[in-house]
């Protein structure tokens, strides 16, 4: 009890910060809008956001209500053009400072959450004063009520989640298309420099054989043998390219056996544990396979590891892969491009990579790909809680009564002047009350029908939103 009063006291004490902040904010906003002192805007937003974040944290700790921050992801740092200059709108800059500042400013001012925060701050003193009696008499309920109020203006909305999701998807799409384009270029180069050149050589050899075959059959035979060897080499080369595109064993057997094949080919002693209920989709399989392949070859090449362990398992619809080796450790994603490449590949599936590699080893890499197992999680219909289910059933069971007999049928009786009153409530009332009652009944019935349909729909939409929104937008 005492602790609750302590919390209430903290909330009220925060007013000492909030009231001056309201005053300062108003001044800063007026100055930045009316007098064009735009540089005052970002610091003001930053102050308010810091306070809002503090409030979210307190509410989470005190009432358990997790209030998700609604802000859009930060804009990425400006990228220089080919000539080294930075473009913002139609102006070119030598340094990224101005474009970065402009991006930031635009990001802050277009985010509706900025204005919701300001509204929250403005109303905050009023709400606290209004809630003061509740705080004093029923502190637990008061805190709960206050948390709900905070969530109303500080929590994520469907729009903010979707906007965040769209930005996140745009970035991962760019990453995915970039890495795919790089792959394509690599394959093109391999085919151009290797296979194609060798086939040209074979063709030339065969041309020479054609000329020689009558005059010098022995030399022609020797050249034919050479052409045959060259075609063998071409095939070997082609096999290497194919392995780089999509390893045949992966296509034939799936991730588990493909990783086992990797383990056999590796110079280290690799143990493989696979626990997957079914085959994954081909792109996911490929990303996971190349990630494991890269990690194992890193361990053998740079880590000087003797043995390694790969564990692939599914948790609900998520795929989790752990690769552990007994090498030197000290791996750093910033140094080599290997780990960064894996991260890029996984990003297309919202995958994350966690690296733990203390100097001296062992190195453990854990990768998680959320919701990639087919037929699980994503397609599962969301279940209504029992209370809502009972309400929906009750609505369906009773909604017909006010709509049809008490509503429409009574209205028809009334229009055609049927004398029968049966059990229609409206017809038993004085004439002045009859039409209002009939219309009221129809309205009530329709409302009940609409509610019976809306409750499950909105419920699953909430659930869908929650599932569709990344909880770890790591790439921002």
């Amino acid at each position: 009890m005492l602790r609750r009063y302590g919390r209430v006291a903290v909330l009220l004490a925060l007013l000492a910060v909030e009231v001056p902040l309201v005053a300062v904010s108003v001044v800063m906003l007026v100055l930045s809008v009316a007098l064009g002192m735009v540089f005052l805007f970002p610091p003001q937003v930053r102050m308010v956001r810091r306070l809002a974040e503090l409030n979210r944290r307190l509410m989470r700790r005190w009432t358990g209500l997790a209030i998700e921050a609604p802000y859009l992801p930060k804009p990425p740092p400006p990228v220089p053009q080919a000539d080294g200059l930075y473009r913002y709108d139609r102006t070119l800059y030598k340094t990224p400072r101005v474009p970065a500042w402009s991006d930031r400013w635009k990001w802050l001012i277009t985010d509706p959450a900025t204005w919701r925060d300001d509204l929250w701050l403005l109303l905050e003193p009023l709400v606290k004063v209004l809630l003061a009696p509740v705080f004093l008499l029923l502190p637990a309920q008061g805190l709960r009520l206050y948390a709900l109020w905070s969530e109303l203006l500080l929590g994520a909305t469907a729009n903010s989640r979707l906007a965040g999701q769209v930005i996140h998807l745009q970035r991962t799409r760019n990453l995915a298309t970039d890495s795919q384009a790089a792959e394509m270029r690599r394959i093109e180069r391999d085919l151009h420099d290797g296979t194609q050149a060798r086939l040209v050589a074979i063709g030339m050899t065969l041309g020479a054989v054609e000329q020689l075959v009558d005059q010098d059959p022995a030399a022609a035979k020797a050249l034919l043998a050479k052409a045959r060897d060259a075609s063998s080499e071409t095939l070997t080369e082609l096999r290497r390219v194919i392995r780089g595109i999509h390893p045949p064993v992966l296509a034939e057997r799936g991730l588990g056996d493909a990783v086992r094949a990797l383990a056999i080919d590796s110079p280290m002693k690799v143990t493989v544990e696979v626990d997957l209920p079914q085959r994954l989709e081909a792109p996911v399989e490929a990303a996971a396979y190349f990630a494991v392949s890269e990690l194992l070859s890193n361990a053998a090449r740079h880590g000087d590891a003797r043995s390694a362990c790969v564990d692939i398992s599914a948790k609900n619809a998520d795929l989790r892969i752990t690769v552990t080796d007994d090498g030197l450790g000290g791996a750093d994603p910033a140094k080599g491009s290997g780990l960064a490449g894996i991260e890029r590949r996984l990003a297309a599936f919202d995958g994350v990579l966690a690296l733990n590699s203390p100097p001296g080893g062992p190195t453990t890499v854990t990768m998680e790909l959320p919701r990639v197992l087919p037929g699980q999680g994503a397609g599962r219909p969301s279940r209504l809680p029992r209370g809502k289910l009972a309400l929906v059933s009750l609505l369906w069971a009773t909604a017909w009564c006010p709509t049809f007999p008490q509503g429409f049928v009574a209205a028809i009786f009334k229009i055609f002047g049927v004398r029968e009153k049966t059990w229609f409530l409206a017809l038993h009332l004085p004439p002045a009350w009859q039409w209002p009652t009939i219309i009221g009944m129809i309205m009530l019935g329709l409302t009940m029908h609409v509610m019976a349909i809306r409750i499950p729909v909105t419920h699953s939409r909430e659930r869908w939103m929650a599932e569709a929104t990344p909880t770890r937008p790591w790439c921002s």
Partner: protein, 216 residues
Amino acid sequence: MNVLIAEDLYLLRDGLVHLLQAHGFTVVGAVDSGPELLKGLLELRPDVSIVDVRLPPTFTDEGLQAALAARTSVPGLPVLVLSQHVEQLYARELLADGSGGIGYLLKDRVFNAEQFIDAVRRVAAGGTAMDPEVIAKLLASNARHEPLAALTPREREVLEAMAEGRSNAAISQRLYLSESAVAKHTANIFAKLGLAPSDDDNRRVLAVLAYLNSRA
């Protein structure tokens, strides 16, 4: 000698039929899908069959699965598996039952008709024919292990040829050694690896392969 061919590419199937017929084999069947292959293997019981790993309907490893299934019900049924790529994983699965009459070669080995026919005959006789690439990979993944590191380069060459499934006579021809020298090298290899020596060529090869597989 009766031979069954399973290959879905018409040109290659036709080429194999002609090649084998020219070398005195009787082609009792040429099928192009996994289920047909399994039926053929079990009903015709060919002296040897030549099987492509990837076959319709799923174009995964139907041929390999059919061969493994047939060898479970008819142990030692001679099968030579051909593929566009070789995997140690598949080689292990084929060798797992410990009986001979198994081959696993890259498709390009067909280019050299003489060696290919030799491999077919070896498999039909209950021997083994492993692709040099499989053996090279197998030795590479064993590279760090003590007993193998102790082999001389010449002994390594002999071991490679032996693991491919060649007899002493064939090894002596390939490495330009006398047969007695090959026999001496073989005895040394077996001593260094700690394996019991055996005069039977086929059993010897299987022992070496099992040894290499167990260590990798």
